[in-house]
């Protein structure tokens, strides 16, 4: 069987850069408690659609003089989960730039929009990647 195609991955994005994911918090919608009672991101917060998983890149936000919090301006009840690009790639997930997508609410932070790309794999493997992303993510707030 042929090997799956390599996952898209923009090598111009430094491993020490950070990506931010919007997570619905109000009512603990996508936040759960771990076995110690700590608030953590559910793996369900890292489900991908046909394009990938939407995130925002710290370095591009900084170039545009934007704070990370700009990503959730106007999104009441949301918090950010942050992950280093290196941690994302260690899970076999690629990071690609996708600035100003036309299917999202227009916002200044969209210049920093990126997609996390998961290579085609089984349902079980995809779920493990989501669990991995949730595990290495850090909730801000």
């Amino acid at each position: 069987m042929a090997a799956p195609p390599p996952v898209p991955n923009d090598q111009s994005i430094a491993p020490e850069d950070i990506v931010y994911r919007r997570v619905k918090d109000g009512g603990n919608i996508n936040i759960v408690r771990d076995k110690y009672g700590n608030r953590v991101t559910s793996s369900a917060a890292f489900e991908d659609d046909d394009d990938g998983i939407s995130v925002f890149l710290q370095s591009t936000l900084a170039e545009a003089n934007l704070e990370a919090a700009s990503v959730i301006v106007g999104f009441n009840g949301y918090v950010l989960a942050k992950i280093t690009v290196d941690a994302v790639r260690n899970l076999g997930v690629g990071v690609v730039r996708d600035p100003n997508p036309d299917d999202v609410k227009p916002m200044p932070c969209n210049v920093a929009h990126c997609l996390l790309k998961i290579s085609p794999m089984s349902k079980s493997e995809r779920h493990k990647v989501r669990q991995g992303l949730a595990h290495v993510s850090e909730l801000m707030g």
Partner: protein
């Protein structure tokens, strides 16, 4: 809970007729979860918390996650209640799941326990799937094939 009689259809119900999910087209959307019991039989101990949480999630609007997510579908809610009833049954001290929505209108039931992690995905278009992990090893499969492992973990957590 809003009485079912005040809510219009559509409605989905369990074949046994003991669980009914009524999805109101009113604004704001209301989904009522009703567990029907034979006369004189007490409500399951987990029913109130599960009903409250599912109705809370049912209030989510389209694009609730800012990335195009759909609110839980009544069919997913029905299956979710069936799964919880199936697993918890009358085990009074077993842990309740944490219930979160998935972006395509499904649900995910999660237990993060000292004995291990359990995540069960409920998508009406797919089999109910269970993912178990003890921190070193993980295993997954259809819940129908994982039921005893899930029950073992929940029982361990209850002591």
């Amino acid at each position: 809970m809003t009485p079912l009689t005040t809510l219009p259809t559509p409605e989905v119900s369990d074949p046994s007729g003991d669980i009914r999910i009524t999805d109101s087209p009113l604004t704001p959307r209301r989904v009522a979860v009703a567990i029907q019991l034979p006369p004189g039989e007490p409500e399951p101990w987990w029913a109130k918390s599960v009903e409250d949480r599912l109705e809370e999630l049912a209030h989510l609007e389209s694009n609730w996650n800012g990335h195009g997510a759909q609110p839980p579908r009544p069919e997913a809610v029905l299956i979710g209640v069936r799964v919880i009833a199936f697993l918890l049954g009358t085990h009074q001290n077993w842990p309740l799941p944490q219930i979160v929505p998935t972006w395509q209108g499904g649900l995910q039931l999660e237990w993060h326990l000292h004995s291990g992690d359990i995540e069960i995905t409920v998508d009406p278009r797919d089999a109910v799937w269970a993912y178990l992990s003890d921190g070193r090893n993980s295993i997954d499969g259809p819940l129908t094939e994982m039921e005893s492992r899930v029950s073992d973990l929940l029982g361990l957590a209850a002591g």
